[in-house]
Amino acid sequence: MASPRHLSWGGGGPPQGVATPPPPGADGGEPPPAPGEGRGVHEFLAGEILPTLDDHRLRFRMLVALNALGIVYRELAALEAEDDAEQRELAARIRAGDVPPGTLARVKAHVEARLQTASPRYLDRY
């Protein structure tokens, strides 16, 4: 993955002479391939926020940020999809009433792992 320093000039705009192409989707083009939430974020930023930015510096930095998101999305798209066969089997067994001891602990551990990505601070509330 590209490090953040490759995605930002850290100042108010590009170095002299450097042109940044508009991100896909920012000005009517197709957004980059992205997982569901990513597509929502991209559409929100490109479609609802970008058009409201009159400040040239902020507009430029938003375009850079959208380009960075595009890179992340493409990298995510290249990853192997998570195999959910085990979860499907577990869900089917519970539906059928097959709930042996240890089922809750197993289920909870999986939810906790998902929360570590989706909302890690939430776990502090318990």
Partner: protein, 322 residues
């Protein structure tokens, strides 16, 4: 606002109020993906126009015509609701209804956390119980279009999502295995939680809003929905919507209805509320993923559903497998 839409508002509000009125510039309020809410003054009345949004169709919610009828029935039954003024079948191309615009706080997080609302919060448990008792006394014959919601519907909704969620399955399994004796169904609000109340410093509970999920149901399901942790807005130790304790709420409700609801029954339906909301999060996310209703808020709900699944595990661990 486009001139012809403003004209449509003026004509509709004159019709509803029964006289020619001048209107203020209608202001579209923030929030509400499925319905628009417009604040407008007309003929000295402070009004709120609830209008269908473009292309948004929710399953299991009432039409605006039916929602207005339920609001009328609640008003007649003495529930603290905005005064209903009239239904408008066509307001610039979409259906709408007009009701009183109440003063007060409607943002759940502020209701739960703002210092100046501390005394209002102290009154809410008893007031909420009193409102629910009035709601549950609305004659079902007054709103004959309401349908009964069954727990089984949650299974069908989960199946439609098409993803494996063992935590939700475990919650559904426990609910199937431990269902309390059924009670006679009543008119239920269907979404009775802090975020659907108007709260004022001087009055406490000043209005019950958002009747689109009204249906017929076990009264305890409605009573327990406000206990769901997601509606406590970070004040987790206060089990009743982040504002208070359950005991005075349950005691007052039982006193008014004579239903004699037990704490264990409330626990059961609290779990059911969490299971329903976990499925709700996934369903909302599907609306975004399918392209039906593109929104970053809906998109993120799918991931935050894991929080509700964790709460399901927590409740099962504490109350069931303890």
């Amino acid at each position: 606002m486009i001139a012809d839409v403003r004209e449509a508002f003026q004509a509709a509000l004159s019709e509803v109020l029964g006289r020619e009125v001048e209107i203020s510039e209608p202001v579209l309020l923030a929030g509400g993906a499925s319905k628009e809410a417009w604040a407008v003054d007309a003929g000295g009345e402070r009004l709120l126009v609830r209008r269908a949004a473009v292309g948004v169709i929710h399953r299991h919610t009432l039409t605006l015509a039916h929602e207005f009828e339920v609001l009328q029935a609640a008003f007649e039954a003495g529930v603290t609701v905005p005064r209903p003024y009239g239904y408008v079948p066509d307001l610039a191309g979409r259906e709408a209804f007009v009701m009183e615009r109440l003063d007060g706080e409607t943002i759940g997080r502020r209701i739960v956390q703002r210092e100046e609302l501390a005394s209002a919060r102290a009154r809410l448990p008893v007031q909420m119980a009193e409102e629910l008792a009035r709601i549950h006394a609305i004659p079902a014959a007054r709103v004959p279009f309401l349908v009964e919601a069954r727990l089984e519907r949650m299974v069908a909704e989960l199946d439609e999502i098409g993803e494996p969620h063992p935590a939700i399955e475990l919650g559904l399994w426990w609910l199937r295995e431990n269902r309390p004796a059924p009670r006679a169904v009543v008119v239920a609000h269907g979404d009775f939680r802090i975020g659907n109340l108007v709260v004022r410093e001087d009055a406490g509970l000043a209005g019950v809003l958002d009747w689109e999920f009204a249906h017929l149901d076990d009264p305890v399901r409605d009573l327990a929905f406000g206990l769901v942790r997601a509606w406590r807005f970070g004040v987790d130790e206060k089990r009743l919507g982040g504002v208070g304790e359950v005991e005075p709420y349950l005691e007052r409700y039982n006193e008014l209805t004579g239903f004699d609801v037990s704490p264990e029954e409330l626990d059961y339906w609290e779990l059911a509320g969490n299971v329903g909301w976990a499925i709700g999060c996934l369903t909302q996310a599907q609306r975004h993923l399918s392209g039906l209703d593109r929104s970053v808020e809906l998109a993120i709900l799918g991931r935050l559903g894991a929080e509700v699944e964790y709460e399901i595990c927590h409740l099962l661990e504490r109350k069931v497998f303890a």
